[in-house]
Structure formats: structure tokens, C-alpha cells
């Protein structure tokens, strides 16, 4: 596949013509992707009664969005805010730590030759194939022996490892940092840490943002791990809390609060959607450059 266009033919072709038909067909997929989100937005503006009496994809006469937001934040002594803060704690420490570990590790794998490197390759590549949730039950049993369950550490520590993040950083670092640059820094007598922080970190920025976003999503959205690790609702992240609210309707004597589940869901997804939209430039270039080329 090393076709070389000869110079005469290498003239840049004009941009392909836009096709309304193809756009319309792809728009079907767009509608599929967006309808549930639109549904969520519309129904977050309805009262608990309105949910049952109005058409799902249009607003009710009674526009209750702001009331719902207030109720969501204050229901049960503001437990939703507590869950939000827990989630932030897990994201900052878990995803932040995972990004740091993956960045350091990926850099080492891409730029150093060290004893046991092949072993690290093999183990980590193998780990990508290990089903994460198959680990969850043994991890729970081990953590309960160590007295870590029902504490924030039980959620944070397992979030620290992202084999995919390591892989992404490693491919990214390999292409983003020229070997000559490192060599020059060493010749100049810069220490390894200084070289890393001063010279390599800026070059790795798009990769770091990409890994940070993806580990952030993984931690923010984590459900299975906190579900098995946490008993105390005070340590719940948002995902567990929302599910508990939803289940409340099914328990004997429980109050149905579907309007709060829906509004809470909306509030839960907004920060991540915003992060992805605002950081687009970074993560898209991070994925394209370091991601998944063969």
C-alpha cells in the first residue's frame, strides 16, 4: 500500500460535493441519538402528575423545571448535593490519579528501555482483555478483608487503573515526543523529572486531556463498583443515588418521585456533556493522533 501518486497527478482534488441525501440518512441516526436527551429535557419540566397526563415529547402546561431543580437539590435534606460532592471527590481523585499514572507509565513505555519492559507490555495488554466486572466480586471480598469497603477508598483505588488510558498515552507519547529532544535535554544535563515536567508535559497535553476525559466519564458513570462497595447512602455517587430514588417508588410506603429522578438525571449528565463540548478540540486531536491506529 505504498502507492505514490506521480507529481503530475498529485494536484489536490477539489472538495467532494455535499450530498443532501446522505445528510438526511445520517440525520436519522442523529435523531436516534438525540431523542432520549430531548425527552429527558422536556420531562424534567413536568410535575410528578404531569408526567402521567401529558404527551412525552412535548411540554405540559405547567412548566415546573425550576421548581423541580430546587426540589431535587433540597429533597431529603439535600442528599443530592451530597451525592454530587461524592461524585466529584471520586472523579478528582480517581480519574485524576488514573490520568497521572497512565501519563507517567505511557511515557516510560514509549521513551525508556528498562528491564522487564516486555513483561509490562504483556501484563497490561492482557489486562485490557480481562472483564473489569469479573474482577469486582473478588476485589470486594479482598477489600472487605482489609476493611476498605464502605469507605471512599473502595471506589477510588480501583478507579486509579485504566489500561486503556495507559495504552493511549503510550501510543501518543511515542509519536508526540521526538527522541532527539529527550537526548538533547539529557546532553544539557537536565534531570529526568525536570525533562518530563518542563519539556514533555506540554507536548503530551492533548493526550492527557483525552485520557482525563475518558477516565472522568468512566468514574462519573461508574455504577457497578460503588454498588458492591458502598452500603451507606451518604457515600453514594449520583448514579447509585438516582437508582435508589427510582427504586423508592417500588418499595412499600415509598413515595414515587419520578420527576426528581428525571430532573436529577438531567443535572447528572450536564457537566459531562459540557466538558466534552468545550474540550472537543483537545480530545479529538488526542484520539486522532494517539488513539487507535494500527
Amino acid at each position: 500500500m505504498t502507492t505514490q501518486t506521480n507529481p503530475r497527478n498529485a494536484v489536490r482534488r477539489s472538495k467532494p460535493k455535499r450530498s443532501p441525501l446522505l445528510t438526511a440518512l445520517t440525520a436519522l441516526m442523529l435523531i436516534y441519538s438525540l431523542v432520549p436527551l430531548v425527552w429527558l429535557l422536556i420531562n424534567a419540566s413536568k410535575t410528578q402528575e404531569g408526567l402521567f397526563t401529558s404527551f412525552g415529547l412535548w411540554f405540559d402546561d405547567d412548566f415546573a423545571l425550576f421548581r423541580n431543580i430546587r426540589d431535587t437539590l433540597t429533597y431529603d435534606d439535600g442528599v443530592f448535593v451530597r451525592w454530587l460532592l461524592n461524585t466529584l471527590l471520586y472523579v478528582v481523585l480517581g480519574a485524576g490519579g488514573a490520568t497521572a499514572l497512565a501519563t507517567l507509565g505511557g511515557y516510560a513505555l514509549a521513551k525508556f528501555d528498562f528491564p522487564g519492559k516486555r513483561g509490562v507490555f504483556a501484563v497490561v495488554i492482557g489486562a485490557v482483555a480481562v472483564p473489569g466486572t469479573a474482577l469486582a466480586v473478588p476485589t470486594f471480598l479482598m477489600f472487605s478483608k482489609l476493611g476498605l469497603t464502605n469507605t471512599p477508598w473502595a471506589v477510588i483505588i480501583p478507579s486509579l487503573i485504566s489500561p486503556f488510558g495507559l495504552y493511549l498515552m503510550w501510543t501518543f507519547a511515542a509519536s508526540a515526543i521526538p527522541g532527539e529532544l529527550l537526548e538533547a535535554a539529557r546532553v544539557d544535563g537536565a534531570g529526568e523529572l525536570r525533562t518530563f515536567f518542563r519539556i514533555c508535559m506540554p507536548l503530551l497535553a492533548p493526550g492527557i486531556v483525552t485520557v482525563a476525559l475518558f477516565t472522568m466519564v468512566a468514574t462519573w458513570n461508574n455504577y457497578f463498583l460503588p454498588l458492591i462497595m458502598l452500603k451507606d447512602p451518604d457515600w453514594y455517587p449520583l448514579t447509585l443515588g438516582l437508582n435508589a430514588w427510582n427504586d423508592q417508588a417500588a418499595t412499600a410506603g415509598g413515595q414515587a418521585i419520578f420527576h426528581l429522578v428525571i430532573t436529577g438525571s438531567l443535572l447528572t449528565i450536564l457537566p459531562l456533556l459540557a466538558a466534552f463540548l468545550f474540550l472537543q478540540r483537545y480530545w479529538q486531536s488526542g484520539l486522532a493522533a494517539g488513539g487507535v491506529k494500527d
Binding site: 502507492t3 501518486t5 498529485a10 467532494p16 455535499r18 450530498s19 446522505l22 445528510t23 440518512l25 445520517t26 442523529l30 441519538s33 438525540l34 432520549p36 436527551l37 425527552w39 429527558l40 412525552g56 507517567l104 507509565g105 511515557y107 516510560a108 513505555l109 525508556f112 528501555d113 528498562f114 528491564p115 501484563v123 485490557v128 482483555a129 480481562v130 469479573a134 469486582a136 466480586v137 473478588p138 476485589t139 471480598l141 480501583p158 486509579l160 487503573i161 495507559l166 501510543t171 511515542a174 509519536s175 521526538p178 537526548e183 538533547a184 458513570n221 455504577y223 457497578f224 448514579t239 428525571i262 449528565i269 466534552f276 479529538q284 484520539l287 486522532a288 488513539g291 487507535v292 494500527d294
Partner: protein, 308 residues
């Protein structure tokens, strides 16, 4: 192992002409060490502990005793385990191809440069990936519902009786739809990123040779992103085998359709947390992990054969 083939390890600069071993030192460990230490604690240790647990059994009378491979023997003849495994296999065979095919179509459409507003398409289709499985499942669960969901609305408005998406016959398809919705954009982005790095000169050459768009896709684009296709397939297989969140959350909306052994992971979970059968639960987790690795490895071997 060429799927995750490492990038070529950087060679040192021009001035250095000594053999490759030269820079081999322990310095690298200072950077990769922290990762490996935590990795050992949260990956290696639990696996070792699970293997240890799986060769013991706790009885009400007599306490815990070493039973060798008895637990494994029990798994292999356990109808609930096999029913769960068969269900996720069916899911895998139907949902994964549909999802990846859709993702590939959109990636090719966006990459073709023939769409109006391609940046908007790319981001909007990817958005559901940022929605937690819990929220996605609750949303779709509510929409599926016949009380205040869209299905209920349609039934009322048109006076029809659509089949209940949460009935036992349809619930697996309904879960498949939720999972497709969540991950089609993610896979699209993997394919699209891979397409971006295909050298443009390749298509230009093909087009100058008079190749049609479809031929370019078939003989240039698809072979060029084979690695990405393979990675996405393997991740999807792993994801299907570990299916847990969606059925587990839907359970409260469809209690009759989803059993406690609906998927192998739900089975392992309920064995541990409702049944206190930790040893057996660890065995189920190990067997499932091994099955997943075998399937993922087989796909990888097939996919990396040169003459596909």
C-alpha cells in the same frame, strides 16, 4: 498481538550509534512503577484471591474446606450459569454486529466530506457516550413504559397496542437498543479517528484509477482501519460478556422479565450479595473471565491473519 502493537520504541538521537541496549536502565521504572504498583493491588491481587477462593467451599456445617476443582465442576453443570451465558452470547451475536455496522456507516459518512454540518454530526452522535448507564437505562426504561412512556403515548394516541418492550420476550432486545444507543457514537469515533490517519494520497490514487466510492471504501478505507475494527470488536465482546448495569437497573421496572441470573455477572453478583456463596461466585467470575479471554483471543487471531 498486533492489535495493540506497541509503537516503535524510540531510538536515541543521531549522535548515538551504539547498539540498542545502550539506554537500558532502571530509570523507566520510576515512571511506570506507580502504575504497576496500583495495578498489582487492584488487578493481580484480586485475580489471585479469586483463584484461591475458588478451590474452597464453605458449608454451614463443617466450615471451609479445600475442595480442589469441585466448584469448577459445579459451574460446568449449572443450568443457571449456562442460561446466562447463552443469553449474553445471543446478545453478542445480534447487538454487536448491528452497533458496529451503524457506527462504521456513520464514520464513513462523516469521513466522506459529503455531509452538511459534519462537526455537529460527529459530536451529537457521540454525546450518548457521556451519559451514565444508569441515566441511559432509566431514560429508556421510562420511555419503554406503558404508563408515562412514549410507548404508552403511542398506544393511547393511535389506539394501538404495541408489544411491551419490557416483556420477557422483548426485554433482551430492549437492552440491546439501550447499549447500542450508548456506544454507537463511541465506536463511530474510534473508526473516524482511524480513518483520519489514512493518507489521503491513497484514496486520490484510487480515484485517479477510476475506482468508485464503494470500491475506495472496500479496498482502501476498510483495510486501512482494520486495527480499529478489531479493537472495537474485542471491546464490544468484552462489554457484552460483562453485561450488568442495564439489566440490573431495568429489573425494578421489569421485575418479571429479568431474573437474578439474567447475565453471568448478575448471577455472580447475586450469588455473592444475596446468597453469600463467595467461593462459588468467585468461580463463576473466573470461568466467565476465561471464556471472555478465549473468545476475544480467537477473534484477534482471526482478525490479524494476513489474508483476511
Amino acid at each position: 498481538m498486533t492489535v495493540l502493537a506497541p509503537p516503535t520504541i524510540s531510538r536515541t538521537g543521531q549522535a548515538d550509534r551504539r547498539p540498542a541496549r545502550r539506554r537500558r536502565s532502571w530509570t523507566g521504572w520510576a515512571f511506570v512503577g506507580p502504575f504497576m504498583a496500583v495495578f498489582a493491588f487492584v488487578f493481580v491481587a484480586p485475580i489471585a484471591y479469586a483463584i484461591y477462593l475458588s478451590v474452597f467451599r464453605t458449608r454451614l456445617i463443617g466450615g471451609t474446606s479445600f475442595v480442589g476443582l469441585d466448584n469448577y465442576q459445579q459451574v460446568f453443570t449449572d443450568p443457571q450459569f449456562w442460561s446466562a451465558t447463552w443469553r449474553v452470547t445471543l446478545f453478542l451475536l445480534v447487538q454487536v454486529p448491528i452497533m458496529l455496522f451503524l457506527a462504521l456507516l456513520i464514520a464513513l459518512a462523516i469521513d466522506s466530506g459529503r455531509l452538511y454540518g459534519k462537526a455537529f454530526f460527529r459530536v451529537a452522535v457521540f454525546m450518548p457516550y457521556a451519559v451514565p448507564a444508569v441515566v441511559a437505562t432509566l431514560m429508556w426504561g421510562f420511555m419503554y413504559g406503558s404508563r408515562f412512556g412514549l410507548v404508552g403515548n403511542i398506544n393511547d394516541t393511535f389506539g394501538v397496542a404495541l408489544p411491551d418492550p419490557l416483556s420477557p420476550d422483548l426485554v433482551l432486545a430492549s437492552i440491546g437498543n439501550i447499549v447500542t444507543w450508548e456506544f454507537v457514537g463511541y465506536n463511530m469515533l474510534i473508526f473516524y479517528s482511524a480513518l483520519q490517519v489514512v493518507p489521503k494520497s491513497l484514496y486520490e490514487a484510487a480515484e485517479l484509477d477510476g475506482a468508485s466510492q464503494l470500491q475506495v471504501i472496500r479496498s482502501v478505507k476498510l483495510p486501512a482501519i482494520k486495527g480499529a475494527l478489531l479493537i472495537a470488536t474485542i471491546f464490544s465482546i468484552i462489554g457484552s460478556f460483562q453485561l450488568f448495569n442495564e439489566p440490573s437497573i431495568l429489573q425494578s421496572l421489569a421485575p418479571n422479565a429479568i431474573t437474578t441470573y439474567f447475565t453471568p455477572n448478575m448471577y455472580a453478583y447475586s450469588l455473592s450479595f444475596s446468597g453469600q456463596q463467595y467461593n462459588y461466585s468467585a468461580t463463576v467470575a473466573i470461568v466467565m473471565g476465561i471464556l471472555t479471554m478465549i473468545v476475544a483471543y480467537a477473534v484477534q487471531l482471526r482478525g490479524t491473519r494476513k489474508d483476511r
